[in-house]
Subunit: 119 residues, 2 copies
């Protein structure tokens, strides 16, 4: 494989809330996304989801509280935990999750990306 | 879980080539390590291994070539591929691999850390 330069990959992402696959590891995928504004409440029933903030600030609301993540901070939303990410300004995030994980989980939304592009 | 601040975690790592577990995702672990100098040739027979450079420069030699990774660059060494990481100066890396993956793979070495600490 080629090495992955995160800045280069982010320069090729133009939409918000549309994760792009940049690497694969066993049965998992590393995705990058630019996000801004509010996402939808959703959960992933069978898989944990890792968020690493590359730039900006992301808030992850959960039913029992919220975490605010800045650059260089990471959080794992456990399987089955409802969450709603949001970002007041554009934020660049790295996601790690099992292949086939859909961004909106079990929620139906216009923001659903059923088959993320590989860049 | 608590959020993980990478800079805070790195400030608690004092040895080289001794990965520390900082997060778990399903059956996988996120580890941080400070590295400097040469590691040993080794392979992981059944698992891919992801390297993300947080600071510094890491060279990963493989039998058919090498990749040089700078800050914000990522590489996945596929299962079964022999590799030898090295860093001319101290480098901070994030590793992602399946639980139980030993840092020196199938190689025997003084650098083997059979049970990485969680920080």
């Amino acid at each position: 494989m080629e090495k992955v330069n995160l800045a280069d990959k982010f320069s090729r992402i133009f939409e918000h809330w549309s994760p792009k696959i940049v690497a694969e590891l066993d049965d998992y995928e590393v995705k990058l996304a630019k996000v801004e504004g509010e996402f939808v409440w959703h959960e992933h029933r069978d898989v944990d989801e890792l968020f690493l903030i590359i730039d900006g600030e992301l808030v992850i609301e959960m039913r029992d509280g919220a975490v605010t993540l800045g650059r260089g901070e990471m959080y794992v939303v456990p399987k089955g935990v409802e969450h709603k990410p949001s970002a007041a300004a554009e934020c660049k995030i790295l996601l790690l999750e099992r292949k086939g994980t859909v961004n909106t989980g079990t929620a139906e939304s216009d923001l659903t990306v059923a088959e993320p592009e590989r860049i």
